[in-house]
């Protein structure tokens, strides 16, 4: 495969000036993702691909789209437990690839959001697991025969065959990045590989941003990441304990955090709306102002 050159001269929508660090209010617009099949990827593991898949999938479904999320991390399936659907897995992606069941039999419908379905990865490796042709057939069948509006493919970490298979059937990509050195570097690599595969609708989700650290100047700010990577932004997700709690109980936080603004759940809902072309402003994630923050500071909190 051809390695693309660096993306020089393609800065992100926001250009940072000198002065106080910004938590990120990039220009609005340019978010719409026309792609019906989208891969969620990152290169590096542990940055939140599965969380993003579950939450953006759930949020899109809540907006009325018929969404199928596919776990392609064969041998290390996890999207099922994150979504709380592990008890209902009968057939998986490889059963579909191998013709051991019909596609429809392998779809697990989410009970909280009727328009959301999961296609689970298998827990055992099989040689057909990496078949790009089967992946393409499956995604095509989901969109054309099963009537889904959107297919979101959760890619395994890495840039090997698993990633290539996951990316083989999509026209769009959500690249998940944490504002730290190895994640940004790996994201750059992944973005290059996506472009080489002619996947042009690439959008960036900056995940686990810690506003207080950005404010202190100890964490890359949004503009920095955009400047370095040169792709369009679609979401800024703050580090949020609710994410862990919601995955503990297997219910995406985008569905149940009550609609507060500076939460990860709200950020995921915003991503879903931007994907659909809505102009959604980026909320102020800095919670270090206001009465409660003042009280917290009084008592020695940060």
């Amino acid at each position: 495969m051809r390695e693309p050159g660096p993306r020089v001269g393609t800065p992100g929508p926001a250009t940072s000036g000198a002065g106080a660090p910004r938590l990120g209010r990039p220009e609005e617009g340019g978010h719409l993702v026309n792609a019906k099949a989208i891969v969620v990827t990152s290169g590096k593991g542990g940055v939140g691909k599965t969380t993003v898949t579950a939450n953006v999938g759930a949020a899109l479904a809540k907006l009325g789209e018929r969404v199928c999320v596919i776990d392609t991390d064969v041998g290390l399936r996890n999207l099922d437990v994150v979504m709380g659907l592990e008890g209902r897995v009968v057939f998986d992606l490889i059963d579909v690839f191998e013709g051991r069941c019909k596609l429809r039999q392998a779809l697990i419908r989410d009970k909280r959001v009727e328009t959301l379905s999961l296609l689970a990865a298998s827990q055992t490796k099989d040689k057909s697991a990496l078949s790009e042709a089967r992946m393409q057939d499956t995604v095509r069948a989901l969109l054309h025969d099963e009537g889904f509006d959107r297919v979101i493919v959760d890619s395994p970490a890495g840039i090997e065959a698993g990633f290539r298979t996951a990316a083989s059937a999509v026209e769009g990509a959500l690249v998940v990045v944490n504002p730290e050195v190895s994640s940004v570097r790996d994201a750059d690599r992944i973005i290059g590989l996506l472009e080489a595969r002619e996947i042009h609708e690439v959008r960036l989700i900056i995940n686990r941003l810690r506003p207080a650290m950005v404010k202190r100047g100890d964490m890359l700010e949004v503009d920095d990441v955009l400047e370095i990577l040169g792709v369009k932004l679609i979401g800024i997700v703050p580090e949020d304990e609710r994410v862990l709690v919601s995955t503990n109980v297997g219910s995406p936080t985008a569905l149940d955090d009550g609609g507060s603004k500076a939460t990860a759940g709200s950020a995921f809902r915003d991503v879903a709306r931007r994907l659909r072309g809505e102009d959604v402003a980026y909320p102020d994630l800095d919670t270090s102002r206001g009465v409660f923050a003042g009280l917290r500071r009084l008592f020695g909190g940060r």
């Binding site: 437990v81 709380g84 592990e86 008890g87 209902r88 897995v89 009968v90 057939f91 998986d92 689970a120 827990q123 055992t124 709690v245 919601s246 995955t247 503990n248 109980v249 297997g250």
Partner: protein, 79 residues
Amino acid sequence: MFAFFRRRRSKDDLKQRLKLVLSYDRARLSPGKMEQLKRELMAVVEKYFPSDGDDLNVRFEQHGDRMVLIADLPRHEPR
């Protein structure tokens, strides 16, 4: 701040879910297939012992380093 009073601890949920899902992972069977196995076993048992199938309890148990499939079927006294 008030979460302590109204919410049960999510980690207890998680531990329960993990124990269950790991037992299936180790046995290399999906929970849904286990349900299928149970239904099919019940159908077979029902064929030979009518009315006995209902109480069938199928589960995995860890016996030392071995995972054991237990099918527990109390026999009813013929009426």
